[in-house]
Structure formats: structure tokens, C-alpha cells
């Protein structure tokens, strides 16, 4: 229900309940709290990073209902009830790195690591719908995230290697 415009205030806190990496989490946040900030500071999931807060760099990319979005362009209140995947959800139950993560390590697909969570999630989503992506699919899927360290070369190699490792993995 919408609050009464006359009696409500911007300082009102909203209870936001989300399922993050399969775990139900909640926080009481003002309406203007960005999803990126709620994940990082209210839920202490600091793997999602903030690089620009205007939707260009993609360091804040998370999966919302399985689809990549910019969490810095989303208010937490707008995704109440949603299922979110962050980089913390990519490892196995024992903390063993998943195939995408292993591929990035093998291929030196990260240097400072700040942009990396976004690229890992984009790669994960890409491979879930296209297990053997062609080059133009890789460019389309990853071509909107910035990296300042790697020059992207090893990121692309990592994606191809991740596809191989994912295929090797027993489903």
C-alpha cells in the first residue's frame, strides 16, 4: 500500500526483504537507499562494488531474478521480495570456487579485482543461456562493464575458459 503523502516522510524506513544467494535477508532502509548500498552496508555483502553511481561502469552489477542489473541505479525498496545473486553466491557450499571464478584465476582475468564481481556475474548469466558463446555474444554481454587494469584481453579468455570448465562440471 502506498503511504499517505500527507503523513509520510522521506526519513521513514521501509522493511525490504530479499533473497540473496538463496538466503532470506532483510533490512530497514530509507526509500532512497540504493540497492548497492543496502547490499554492502546493511547486509555486509561487500563483494558488490561501487565505481560510479551513474550506471556506466558496472562494478555494481548483480543478478535480479537471474538477470544482470546495475544495483547503483536501483532503490532497494523497488526490489522488495526479489531474488538477488551477488558474487558471494558463486562459490560452492564449501567455499570452493565455481567454474567461472576458477577460469578467471587460471587466465589472469583480474588484477585489482574491483570490476571483477560484475564480470563474474555477467559471465555466469551468459553461460547459463549460451554455454558456448560466440565472440559477438561475449562482446554483447560483457561490453557494458569497465575494467581499467586488464585491457579486457584476459577477461575474454576467462569467459571462454569458463565455458569449458562449466561443460566439464557434472551437473
Amino acid at each position: 500500500m502506498s503511504p499517505n503523502p500527507r503523513t509520510s516522510s522521506p526519513a521513514d524506513l521501509h522493511e525490504v526483504v530479499v533473497t540473496v544467494n538463496g538466503v532470506t535477508r532483510s533490512a530497514r532502509v530509507p526509500a532512497r537507499r540504493l540497492l548497492s548500498d543496502m547490499l554492502r552496508h546493511d547486509l555486509r555483502l561487500t563483494g558488490t562494488h561501487v565505481g560510479c553511481e551513474h550506471g556506466v561502469c558496472g562494478a555494481c552489477t548483480v543478478l535480479l531474478e537471474g538477470e544482470p542489473i546495475r544495483s547503483c541505479l536501483t532503490f532497494a525498496v523497488m526490489v522488495d521480495g526479489a531474488r538477488i545473486t551477488t558474487v558471494e553466491g558463486l562459490a560452492g557450499p564449501d567455499g570452493e570456487l565455481g567454474p567461472v571464478q576458477r577460469a578467471f584465476r587460471e587466465c589472469h582475468g583480474l588484477q585489482c579485482g574491483f570490476c571483477t564481481p560484475g564480470f563474474l556475474l555477467l559471465t555466469t548469466e551468459l553461460l547459463s543461456r549460451s554455454p558456448e558463446p560466440a565472440d559477438d555474444e561475449i562482446v554483447d554481454a560483457l561490453g557494458g562493464n569497465l575494467c581499467r587494469c586488464t585491457g579486457y584481453v584476459n577477461i575474454v579468455r576467462s569467459v571462454r575458459r569458463a565455458a569449458e570448465l562449466a561443460r566439464e562440471q557434472p551437473s
Binding site: S2, P3, S9, P10, L34, V139
Partner: protein
């Protein structure tokens, strides 16, 4: 860059939304995808006291056909247009133009109607709407009841980021007329980086007769004016079109546009680029026209209605609460 404070509303119906807007008027901004609005808030270039989130309103996610036009409801995301192949078959121009918008991540949240209401002259969809003589349906709560009006594209865009919509109006749907048989189309843009706003861009249609001779053509331009500019290129097509008429097409377009300088390009360059892209776009559009475009089949319309219902896999951000 944190956004300024606001009161958040999530109406469950169109009536609730319009009653809110009638009360809040210019203190409120509507948010659907947020991909254009939230950066403005984060930069504190806008500071609305109230935000009205329409994602919770059922019935705004319709994607279908009616009366020779593709109808797109207010909460339909760009990515859905790209995903549903029947739409591509029915309106390939609309789908290709949508594919030029930013990056997939932005398209997963941004909405078609939101893009139109935002009215960025560098955006693709306002130009497509203008080219096709489409329009939007805007509703409001006036005098104790729901009011509704159709705003044609030619009357919608008032200036950069400005429409003629009233402060209490909510766009609930947009209509993109489909192309007639024998009409080809093309989209051409040149951007600095993949996914950027274009330095200049064009969406173009051209119609040919039974022998493949162009009989009419229209082009709408992005990033060339405060609003989308539509140019009738018909007069330049007389001499058989394509190669022979290219210089005339170039000159006609160049003389019809009056872009401005900005940090990314000069006016002179933009004018030249728009005219150059027109020549290239015309070539492609003509070959499409000559191989024939298919109008939407009646049975597809039935399928699209079923597709219009929200599914669990859709990213409509919690349409079902």
C-alpha cells in the same frame, strides 16, 4: 553521489497512481526502470519530493498488437521486446532500434514508455515513435474520474528531456504502427563507444512500388536537434534511389538539420554524419523493401496476448506482490 530524500509510493492500480499524481502534481516523479531517472537523482540534478513506482500496477505489462500497431505497456522492459520473437517478426524496425539502446544490463530494467517520457533527443525510441507517427496513451485523474488521451508523437516531444505531458499524467502505453507491405527500414548510428548515445543516428523507412522503385521515404534523427527530427526524404528519391540519388539525399538531409556543437562533436560534423548515415541507411532499407517485409499475421496477435501476461521469469521487478 547519493540521491536526495523522497517519499516512496508504490500504487497497486492505475487509479491509485493517477489519484496520487493529481494530489502531488509537480512534486512527484514516476519511476519504472529508473535507468534514466536514478542517475539524475544520484547526481542531484533532480530532487523530487515523491517517487511513484509504477512497477506494482497490474495490467501495465501488455505487449501486443492492435489496429496495425504494436502496443507496449508502461512497465514493459526493453529486454522483453528483444526476447519475444513474435515482436521481432511483427516490427523488426522497433526491435532493432531497441537493440541499440545502451547495454543489455540497462535494457533489463529500462522501459519503452519510460524512454519516451524521458524524451532524450539522443534516444532511439522517441525517434522511432516520431518516424512511425505513433503515440502514447496518457491517463490522469480529473474531476473525480479517470481521463485518458492519445498524444501523437508529433505533439509529444517539446524539447530536450521535455514532453507536453501534464504533471499529473501517467503514460500507460505506447503505440508503434507497423510497417506496410513493400516498406523497408534501417537503423544507423555512430557512437564513440559500444552502447553510447550516438553522435548522430537515424531510423529510416522507404517504400517501393511493384518494380522496386522508391515512392516515399522518411527518416527520423537522433542527437541532431532538441527533439527527434523527421525528414521527408521522398523528394530526393525520384531518380531511382540508391546510388544515383545519393547526392540529392545527402543535400536534402543536410539542409533539413540544424544540430548544435557539444563536447563530443561539432554541428558541422553532426550534420554531415547524419546525411552520410542516411545514404547508407537508405541502401539497406531499399534492399529490405525489395525483398519484402511481412505484415503481422492475425494468428500471431493471439499468441502475443498470451505472452503479455507476466511470467515468473520476467524481470518486471515484482509485478506480483
Amino acid at each position: 553521489m547519493k540521491p536526495p530524500p523522497f517519499v516512496y509510493h508504490r500504487p497497486a492500480s492505475v487509479e491509485e497512481a493517477t489519484r496520487l499524481l493529481a494530489e502531488l502534481r509537480d512534486e512527484a516523479k514516476i519511476v519504472a526502470g529508473g535507468q534514466s531517472l536514478v542517475p539524475l537523482l544520484n547526481f542531484r540534478l533532480a530532487a523530487p519530493a515523491h517517487l511513484v513506482d509504477i512497477n506494482g500496477i497490474t495490467g501495465l505489462d501488455r505487449l501486443g498488437w492492435a489496429d496495425g500497431a504494436v502496443e507496449v505497456g508502461a512497465t514493459v522492459r526493453h529486454s522483453r521486446l528483444l526476447r519475444e520473437r513474435e515482436v521481432a517478426a511483427a516490427h523488426p524496425l522497433l526491435v532493432e532500434a531497441t537493440g541499440w539502446i545502451a547495454h543489455p544490463v540497462i535494457r533489463n530494467r529500462g522501459t519503452v514508455c519510460g524512454s519516451l517520457a524521458h524524451a532524450d533527443p539522443a534516444a532511439e525510441l522517441p525517434a522511432v515513435l516520431a518516424l512511425l507517427d505513433g503515440g502514447v496513451e496518457a491517463v490522469s485523474w480529473r474531476g473525480g474520474s479517470q481521463a485518458s488521451r492519445r498524444v501523437p508523437a508529433a505533439e509529444l516531444f517539446a524539447g530536450p528531456l521535455q514532453t507536453t505531458l501534464e504533471v499529473d499524467e501517467l503514460v500507460v502505453a505506447a503505440y508503434f504502427p507497423t510497417l506496410a507491405a513493400g516498406t523497408g527500414w534501417a537503423v544507423e548510428e555512430l557512437a564513440r563507444r559500444h552502447g553510447d548515445y550516438a553522435l548522430a543516428g537515424i531510423v529510416l523507412t522507404v517504400t517501393v512500388d511493384g518494380e522496386g522503385k522508391p515512392t516515399s521515404g522518411r527518416a527520423a534523427y537522433l542527437s541532431c536537434a532538441p527533439t527527434p527530427v523527421v525528414v521527408d526524404i521522398g523528394p530526393a528519391l525520384g531518380g531511382g534511389g540508391g546510388g544515383a540519388g545519393s547526392a540529392t539525399v545527402y543535400d536534402l538531409v543536410a539542409s533539413s538539420l540544424d544540430p548544435t556543437d557539444d563536447i563530443h562533436a561539432t554541428a558541422v560534423y553532426r550534420r554531415h554524419l547524419a546525411a552520410t548515415l542516411t545514404v547508407r541507411a537508405l541502401d539497406r532499407a531499399l534492399s529490405r523493401a525489395r525483398t519484402g517485409t511481412q505484415p503481422p499475421q492475425p494468428e500471431l496477435a493471439a499468441v502475443s496476448d498470451a505472452m503479455a501476461a507476466p511470467t515468473a521469469a520476467s524481470s518486471d521487478g515484482g509485478a506480483e506482490r
